[in-house]
């Protein structure tokens, strides 16, 4: 324990730089994945495109089984090493749960609800904004949440292609058989993942309609 504190005391600046790198790789790739993922999910579930939406669900459902290291390796082959390839790899990797969850949420909005909306004179855009998205908020957010935790963890591997981040500390520890250094990288990674998850769960509670939360409660 004392050794761990000593590590931080002597390497504070280095640690903060690595933490900063870690968070920027995570934040950048995650934000891009949210933006692009939601667009893909929405676009593939518009009226008349439900077949594409369902096909996408199969593909993304399937790709969730691909290990992260494989994705990073593949991106590395095509784009080389560094910060950008790492962001790209993590973007692709976290795209999958976001698209999968958002699309499954949008696909499962009942046709009765959508027909009622259309029958009352909502335009397609209004149906999306006022009915489909709000009703899919729990699914969309659970995708975004799991992407965040996976992403923070996986960012450690990005160190393998020279992107920096807390993974660099962990890898240094491994190379030197130094358990303290491994922990010095691993513990903050875990803590940030948990913190981000807690923050997002609060956000989820805030933005999910009370009606849907009650419905969820009802089902249990």
């Amino acid at each position: 324990m004392q050794a761990l504190f000593d590590y931080y005391r002597f390497n504070m600046e280095y640690f903060l730089i690595k933490l900063g790198e870690h968070m920027s790789i995570f934040a950048l790739s995650w934000a891009m994945a949210i933006a692009v993922g939601l667009l893909i999910a929405i676009a593939s579930t518009r009226p008349g495109r439900m077949k594409i939406g369902n096909a996408l669900l199969t593909v993304t459902g399937f790709s969730q089984a691909v290990p992260s290291i494989a994705v990073i390796a593949l991106v590395f082959i095509f784009t080389g090493i560094g910060f950008r390839p790492a962001v790209l790899a993590l973007f692709i990797y976290s795209l999958v749960p976001i698209v999968f969850n958002a699309a499954s949420g949008l696909v499962s909005v009942s046709s009765g609800m959508k027909e009622a909306a259309r029958g009352m004179g909502m335009t397609n855009g209004q149906i999306l904004r006022k009915v489909e998205l709000p009703a899919s908020v729990p699914a969309i957010l659970s995708g975004i949440r799991s992407a965040a935790t996976i992403n923070i963890g996986t960012t450690t591997i990005a160190a393998a292609i020279g992107a920096g981040g807390l993974g660099e500390i962990i890898f240094t520890g491994i190379r030197n058989f130094n358990f303290t250094i491994i922990l010095a990288g691993a513990i903050p990674t875990a803590i940030t993942a948990i913190l981000v998850d807690i923050v997002l769960s609060v956000v989820e509670k805030r933005v999910t309609s009370k009606g849907l939360q009650l419905a969820e409660h009802w089902r249990e």
């Binding site: 029958g119 009606g211 419905a215």
Partner: protein, 375 residues
């Protein structure tokens, strides 16, 4: 607003004929029922009115204009649409669900609030408690009331209802139907109502359109359908006990006689004065109306002829049972049986006499029907 369907036709794919040359007019301020087995074209016909399904050919005229002349979105916002409870938005409160169309029409919020509370009251939902609940917190019947309120929110002239009570258990369905009849008496909308339940059709419908395999088999007033089914298909749909059943379901509402005689009661009205009036009109009896314009009872000519002519009439008024317009004809009939009256007065909520149901008229109405139901 009347809705005219002209040679209305819907073809799916190359040759599947869903609706085949349907011509009919849904009358203004009436409830018209579309009924038939599944796949008969009733729902397709309904949805062609608000263009959720586009027709293949023919025309639909609302208030003299083809629906194509009205913008699609404008058309839908001007027509109320009610489906089964699944149509409510779970993420919105009752208030927000009802306010959907007014908000699409950009009504000011205070007007919306007033309207929503008014509708909750009309639907017999507590305006203090219910607006802020979510659909999941309501019973099936309450959800359906909210659904109807939502359809009525922007005060449309026309209401399309697609099996709205289909998912409700039989007991609550009856209650909803009774409530709905009373609501329609207040709001007087042109309603097109799809159902597969013949009881519901007879109970709610002013007119019934029967569909089979895309064709309109019969379209008539409810009593005409019952008494003169167009063919075996309609007869089977009505079932063997249609006489009794229809009597149980048809409301007094459309079938009372407004030709009756009444006297306004005052303290100084004597038997002699009353008799003169009755003789002048050559009536056998007269209803007596009190100062508050409520039904006080009736007097029989033969009885008061024997009484002292200078007696105040008040002394000779006999109390009578009366019946509400939303009661069934069967209730009217049984009231006649138990009270021995050959006619029962029809009174509204405020006790005012609106007309009379006579035994002879009931016999005429159901005369062609075998009341024993043995077929």
């Amino acid at each position: 607003m009347a809705i005219e369907l002209k040679k209305l036709r819907k073809v799916y794919g190359q040759s599947t004929l869903a609706v085949d040359d349907v011509d009919l007019t849904f009358e203004d301020k009436k409830i018209s029922i579309l009924i038939g087995p599944s796949g008969c074209g009733k729902t397709t016909t309904l949805k062609m009115i608000n263009r959720l399904i586009e027709r293949t050919s023919g025309d639909i005229i609302i208030d003299g204009r083809s629906i194509d002349e009205i913008g699609l979105i404008e058309l839908r916002r001007s027509i109320g649409y009610v489906i089964q409870e699944i149509g409510l938005f779970p993420h919105m409160t009752v208030f927000d669900n009802i306010a959907v169309v007014p908000r699409l029409l950009k009504w000011p919020e205070d007007k919306i609030k007033k309207r929503v509370l008014e509708l909750l009251d009309l639907m017999n939902l507590d305006p203090d408690e219910h607006p802020y609940k979510y659909p999941v917190q309501l019973s099936g019947g309450q959800k359906q009331r909210v659904g109807v309120a939502r359809g009525l929110a922007a005060d449309p002239e026309i209401l399309l209802m697609d099996e709205p009570f289909g998912a409700i258990d039989p007991i609550n369905r009856e209650k909803l139907q009774d409530a709905f009849i009373e609501i329609q008496e207040q709001i007087n909308k042109t309603i097109v109502f799809v159902t597969h339940d013949i009881r519901e059709a007879i109970k709610l419908g002013d007119n019934i359109a029967i569909f089979n395999e895309g064709k309109l088999v019969q379209y008539d007033e409810t009593m005409t359908v019952i008494n003169e089914p167009a063919d075996d298909f309609v007869e089977n749909l009505l079932g063997s006990d249609r006489g009794l059943r229809s009597m149980e379901l048809v409301r007094v509402h459309d079938h009372y006689d407004t030709d009756f005689f009444s006297l306004d009661l005052t303290d100084d009205l004597t038997v002699g004065d009353a008799l003169k009036e009755i003789e002048k009109k050559d009536r056998r009896y007269a209803y007596v109306i009190n100062e508050k314009k409520r039904l006080a009872g009736y007097v029989v000519r033969k009885k008061i002829e024997k009484a002292n002519k200078s007696d105040p009439l008040k002394k000779h008024v006999k109390e009578t049972e009366s019946i509400h317009p939303s009661s069934s004809l069967l209730e009217a009939m049984s009231l006649m049986m138990t009270s021995g009256l050959s006619a029962v007065p029809v009174t509204d909520d405020r006790g005012r006499v609106r007309g009379v149901v006579r035994f002879s008229a009931l016999m005429e109405m159901f005369g062609s029907v075998d009341l024993t139901g043995s077929d």
